[in-house]
C-alpha cells in the first residue's frame, strides 16, 4: 500500500507540495510529512537500533534535523532517501556516543522490535484461516527474531531493501556507502540470516 502510494502521481505531487510548504515552515506541512512517514521511519529506526526508546528519540531528532536542513535540501533528490539518510546519520552519532554500552537488549524490547505481540488475542476459534495465520505469524516472528541477531549494518540493508523496497542506489545514498558495498552487505546479511534460522530450526530449510 505504501509502495502504491509512492507510485501514485497524485500522492507524489502531494508530497512535493508538502515539502515546498515545509520549507516555508508551514506547521501543517510538518504534521502531514510526519504522518506520512511515521510508520516507515520508526520501523527503520527500530530495526536499526532495536531499542524502542532510542528509536522514539531518534525519530524526533530526525524531524528536528529535517527542519534545520530542509532549506538546503535539493528537490531533485529523492526525499525518502534523504530523510532516511538523516535518520541513519543520527543513529550512527548516537551509537558513537554510547559505544561502550552493550548492544544486547532485554527480551521485552526484542519482542517489541520484532513487532511481536499477542497474536493469539486477535485469532478467533471459528476463523478458518486462524491456523495458517498463526503459522505465518510464528514464521515471521522467528525471522524477525533472527534478524535481531545480525549486526546493525546488516539489519539496515535488509529492512531498506525488503521492507522499504528501496533501490540499491537509494540504499547506498541512505547508508553513505558505494553500490558494491550495498551488494556485499546484502549478501552477507542474507547468509547471516539463513545461518541464524538454520540454528533456530535445525533441519528445516525454508524461511
Amino acid at each position: 500500500m505504501i509502495l502504491a502510494a509512492a507510485m501514485n502521481p497524485e500522492a507524489f505531487s502531494g508530497a512535493q507540495d508538502a515539502i515546498t510548504r515545509l520549507r516555508r515552515g508551514d506547521p501543517d506541512a510538518l504534521t502531514a510529512m510526519i504522518s506520512r512517514y511515521q510508520h516507515r521511519l520508526y520501523r527503520y529506526l527500530l530495526r536499526l537500533v532495536r531499542e524502542p526508546a532510542a528509536a522514539d528519540d531518534l525519530f524526533q531528532q530526525t524531524w528536528l534535523r529535517v527542519m534545520e536542513k530542509i532549506g538546503r535540501y535539493d528537490a531533485r533528490r529523492n526525499f525518502e532517501a534523504w530523510l532516511f539518510s538523516v535518520a541513519h546519520n543520527l543513529a550512527v552519532d548516537a551509537w558513537r556516543g554510547k559505544r561502550t554500552e552493550s548492544l544486547d537488549e532485554s527480551a521485552d524490547s526484542r519482542e517489541h522490535a520484532s513487532g511481536g505481540g499477542a497474536i493469539g488475542n486477535t485469532l478467533r476459534a471459528d476463523d478458518p484461516d486462524a491456523l495458517e495465520r498463526l503459522l505465518d505469524f510464528e514464521r515471521g516472528a522467528a525471522l524477525a527474531a533472527s534478524i535481531q541477531e545480525l549486526p546493525a549494518i546488516h539489519r539496515e540493508v535488509l529492512t531498506l531493501r525488503f521492507e522499504e523496497d528501496m533501490k540499491l542506489e537509494e540504499i547506498a545514498e541512505v547508508a553513505g556507502i558505494p553500490l558494491s558495498t550495498v551488494k556485499s552487505r546484502l549478501s552477507r546479511a542474507l547468509d547471516g540470516l539463513r545461518a541464524a534460522m538454520d540454528k533456530r530450526f535445525p533441519g528445516r530449510k525454508e524461511a
Partner: protein
C-alpha cells in the same frame, strides 16, 4: 571456480533483486539445468517473501504529536536566538553610531579641545576608548535582560 560455484554465490542476491541483467540471465540459464540451484533459489525467494512480510512494530502512542511539539519548541527557541543575536548586533551598531555622532558634534562645539583632568576628551583615541567601555556595558546589560527573558520563556514552555 566452477560455473555452479560462481552461480551459487549469486543466489541470495538474486532473491534480493540485486543482480544486474546479465548476471540474472546467466543465473536463470544455470538454474534451468541445475536442480540444486533451482531448489536454493526457491528457498531464497521464500526468505525474500518472509522479509517483506515481517510482523510490523506499532508506532508509540502520541509519537507524531510529541515530535511536532518538540519541533515547534525548538523552532521558537531558534527564532529567539536569532532575534537575540540581531538585537545585540543592532544595539552595538546603534551605540557606535551614537558615539561617533556625539564625537563629531562635541568636536564642532568645543573646537576640538575639551580637557578634563589632563585628558582631551574629544581626541579620537580617548573618545573611542570611552565609547567602547559604554558599548560593552550596554551589551552586558542587554545580554542579562535577554537571558532572563529566555529563562522565563523556557519555564513557560
Amino acid at each position: 571456480m566452477s560455473e555452479h560455484e560462481s552461480m551459487a554465490g549469486l543466489l541470495a542476491l538474486a532473491a534480493a533483486g540485486a543482480l544486474d541483467a546479465q548476471q540474472q540471465r546467466l543465473l536463470e540459464k544455470h538454474a534451468r539445468e541445475c536442480p540444486a540451484c533451482r531448489r536454493e533459489l526457491e528457498i531464497w525467494s521464500q526468505y525474500a517473501q518472509g522479509l517483506r512480510r515481517l510482523p510490523q512494530p506499532s508506532v508509540p502512542s502520541q509519537l507524531m504529536e510529541r515530535t511536532r511539539a518538540r519541533v515547534v519548541q525548538e523552532s521558537v527557541a531558534a527564532a529567539d536566538r536569532r532575534w537575540e543575536a540581531f538585537t545585540l548586533g543592532a544595539l552595538a551598531l546603534f551605540a557606535w553610531t551614537v558615539g561617533l555622532t556625539f564625537w563629531l558634534v562635541a568636536r564642532i562645539v568645543t573646537g576640538g579641545e575639551l580637557v578634563v583632568m589632563g585628558a582631551n576628551l574629544v581626541r579620537f583615541g580617548t573618545w573611542s576608548a570611552g565609547s567602547t567601555v559604554l558599548v560593552w556595558l550596554t551589551a552586558a546589560v542587554a545580554a542579562l535582560a535577554l537571558g532572563r527573558r529566555r529563562r522565563e520563556l523556557r519555564r513557560a514552555l
